[in-house]
Symmetry: C2
Amino acid sequence: MNRLVEQFSRLPGIGKRSAERLAFHLLKQSDEQVAELASAIGDLKRSTKQCSVCFNLTDADPCSVCTDPNRTQGLVMVVEQPSDLLSIEQTGLYKGVFHVLMGRVAPLDGIEPGDLTIAALLERVQNGLAGTSQGDGADRPRIEEVIIGTNPTLEGDGTALYLVEKLTALGVRVSRLARGLPYGSNMEMVSKAVLADAMDGRQPM
Amino acid sequence: MNRLVEQFSRLPGIGKRSAERLAFHLLKQSDEQVAELASAIGDLKRSTKQCSVCFNLTDADPCSVCTDPNRTQGLVMVVEQPSDLLSIEQTGLYKGVFHVLMGRVAPLDGIEPGDLTIAALLERVQNGLAGTSQGDGADRPRIEEVIIGTNPTLEGDGTALYLVEKLTALGVRVSRLARGLPYGSNMEMVSKAVLADAMDGRQPM
């Protein structure tokens, strides 16, 4: 019991009291229910892999997004984290595929471009542009456009700049998710940086 | 005393208790201090006019923005309220002039285009395009572009659509403040509508 409480209280947002409550709750459950939770936790790391194409977390490789025949394989959105991919997927509006960087360039935290999946992205785009088939004989889809979908933060911007430089050097079309006023907001409430983005990026009607 | 408490408690965000506290505070001030507050309140409506060009609240007509020789008179940003104008001014980044609608088209609240300063805007743009001089002999500045700066809300959008239609019919260049991810936000945290805007409005790099 003490061991479980200690384990639970290491999870984010769970203090000692909550950990105890969870442990007591499990005590009251049936053996099967508890075994199911234990096995789900045990399987997590074992069954979760990274897609070798887009680096999203998946239980199949390549993942279901990369192999979906209804998606535009030539349109690649680059995001920082699997959770960002999930946000975009939940809109149901994006029909392309992804590339997950697994982080952002953050020199202050010691995260350099080499720590991310940038080399794999550049290789993927290079192959996609050439349309070459690899050693495995599979035709790589032709890549028409890369959308930079890093977060609109200082580090996300730095990562985007780095990527734009590398990608345009390859000759692929590069775009970036729009920055500006968030839908539903009010000009009185947003920060100066948001208003600056909104003015810089104003679009002809 | 009771009359003042009643008056104070009509102000937004001030309840009966706060109103009493304010009244007692004033009782403790010097006669002069109280007289100064009373006169400032009394002068508010008397000294605040609307600029006859841009409809911003001002103490001079035309207002200091409209008569500023260092501003680009040919660039007009259309905003809903004087407070929106203030937000843009506080960025220090905008060098054009304004037109304040004094509201937004909101059929559900019974606010029609005719209730706003839209007719005056269209006339201002028409005159600005023709570059005609008016009866008073003054040359109107040539208007090169109108930036729609209504709020990114349902009613703001409706107002923008109405304005774009009327303005493009006059032949003036029309643009709109960018919509998308707000600077400093996180893709995980923003709403579906914000992500949709960000994808729709993506910009080539």
